[in-house]
């Protein structure tokens, strides 16, 4: 019976101290009866291997002990749907708040485009820790609530509700218009052509007013030669994506194409933010005009920074919507197939 003693000892190691002796005594009685029952059937004492077989059939000690304990869960089945719903609804808000705060902080504190990129990278790398903390705090909160309800506070009862109180039907998803997609493609192509023509034909910017520019005490920064080609390149890259939006065969991926186009738009804003000086002073500029020029440059940069922050938030929101819409589409497809 040494095996039985060892087995009981192993089970006991996983049982709570309270009630351990009682549980083990009952388990011993039942297992001894089980062994004796087998011996009666066979008409002889069980061998060591046979006893081991009986005990192994009874189950692994840790699992056997677990079955005697209370059910272990942090958030129970009644509270879990509410917990999951709260997590799903609040996570995008946490993400949005984090993006806005970090982006504004990075824009305000950064001194150059490279510095801005580094700050955004650091913030992005830090986000998993923030998300984990948020998840931990939410789970802990619900676990505490699960523990205290029924013990220290009355069990939660769901509020009364009526189907008439539910929100009205959401309007259907905006239908993709082929005409607007074609128009968008044509306008985008014209903008590229126009931008390519501008360096050789400056009057295309402000028409006859171009002559007046020559009399101004400031001009465009030479940096424009670099950024100009970056912007034109991104606009050209957008064209095939916009052309793909027109194709009926790609209608399933239109959401992702639109996201790619929006991402290009954000990259253009990133280029614009990197341009710290849009206009430089001419040779005969007055001190007053010089101050105005600095204000103009700062104002334009600040405007682009705000636009970039808004675009990034909008992009993340659209990305989230596209991912969840994709999951719903797949679930609907699976249900339809099955």
């Amino acid at each position: 019976m040494e095996l039985l003693e060892r087995y009981l000892q192993a089970v006991g190691a996983h049982l709570p101290a309270r009630g351990r002796a009682d549980t083990l005594a009952e388990l011993r009685a039942n297992l001894e009866a089980e062994i004796e029952g087998r011996e009666e059937e066979l008409g002889r004492p069980l061998t060591g291997a046979e006893v081991a077989q009986v005990l192994e059939a009874h189950g692994m000690p840790v699992l056997v002990a677990a079955r005697y304990g209370p059910q272990h869960f942090l958030v129970g089945p009644q509270l879990f749907p509410l917990y999951w719903y709260t997590l799903k609804r609040s996570f995008p808000l946490v993400l949005a708040a984090y993006v806005v705060v970090q982006l504004v902080a990075a824009i305000v504190q950064s001194s150059s485009g490279q510095d801005l990129g580094q700050k955004i990278g650091t913030a992005a790398a830090h986000f998993p820790r923030v998300a984990l903390t948020f998840w931990g705090v939410m789970t802990l909160g619900f676990a505490v609530f699960e523990y205290v309800q029924g013990r220290y506070v009355p069990k939660m009862t769901l509020p009364k509700w009526s189907v008439r109180d539910l929100p009205p039907l959401e309007p259907g998803q905006k239908k993709h218009s082929l005409a607007s997609a074609v128009a968008d493609l044509i306008v985008s192509a014209l903008i590229v052509v126009w931008l390519l023509a501008v360096p050789n034909h400056p009057y295309l910017i402000i028409g006859p007013g171009a002559k007046m520019v020559h009399g101004m005490p400031f001009g465009l920064t030479p940096e424009w030669h670099v950024f100009y080609w970056q912007i034109v390149g991104l606009l050209i890259l957008m064209l095939p994506l916009k052309a793909a939006m027109v194709l009926p065969s790609l209608r399933r991926v239109r959401g992702w194409l639109q996201l790619a186009i929006n991402a290009m738009g954000i990259l253009i804003l990133v280029v614009m933010v990197q341009i710290r000086t849009f206009f430089v002073a001419g040779a005969e500029i007055s001190a007053e005009n010089l101050r105005s020029l600095a204000g103009i440059n700062t104002g334009i940069t600040f405007g682009f920074k705000i636009a970039l922050a808004i675009s990034v938030v909008k992009f993340l929101w659209d990305l989230w919507k596209e991912i969840t819409a994709g999951q719903h589409r797949r679930a609907g497809y699976t249900a339809a197939v099955l």
Binding site: T23, A25, E26, L27, A29, N30, L31, E32, A33, E34, G37, A57, H58, G59, L63, V64, R67, Y68, T334, L338
Partner: protein, 133 residues
């Protein structure tokens, strides 16, 4: 264990047919086991003899499931237990409590209702299939 499905197909979520059957079977059995244990304990038993009695009636139940279940039903007030010596060994005997009797009556009525409904549904299905043929 009881019979398992012989189909090798994969259901929704990649769960194999056998796994799905086992999980559904477990769900189906869970409530029935409580009912069977309560009904069997209208007469006094200790763990081992109860398991044997259930097995003889055709309801096999693992020790590691039965013994903790007895504890839980006792904690819920449906069973009474008492340590007593029998054949020179101390054993814990269980019997249905007053509250257990009441709950068993209600559960049996519920089970009978479900059983009859299921019978009607399955019979209706059989006769419809027969007509189609």
């Amino acid at each position: 264990m009881g019979p398992t499905s012989k189909h090798g197909w994969n259901g929704a979520g990649g769960q194999s047919g056998n796994e799905l059957f086992d999980s559904l079977r477990l769900e189906l059995r869970r409530g029935c086991l409580v009912l069977a244990v309560l009904a069997q304990l209208r007469a006094e038993h200790y763990g081992y003899t109860l398991r044997k009695a259930l097995a003889e009636s055709g309801l096999e139940i693992e020790e590691s499931t039965l013994y903790p279940l007895l504890r839980r039903l006792e904690t819920q007030g449906l069973l009474n237990s008492e340590w007593r010596e029998e054949e020179k060994r101390n054993k814990r005997f269980y019997r249905l409590s007053g509250e257990g009797e009441r709950i068993l009556g209600l559960l049996l009525a519920e089970w009978t209702g479900i059983n009859q409904s299921l019978g009607r549904i399955v019979e209706g299905l059989k006769s419809n299939t027969g007509k189609e043929r």
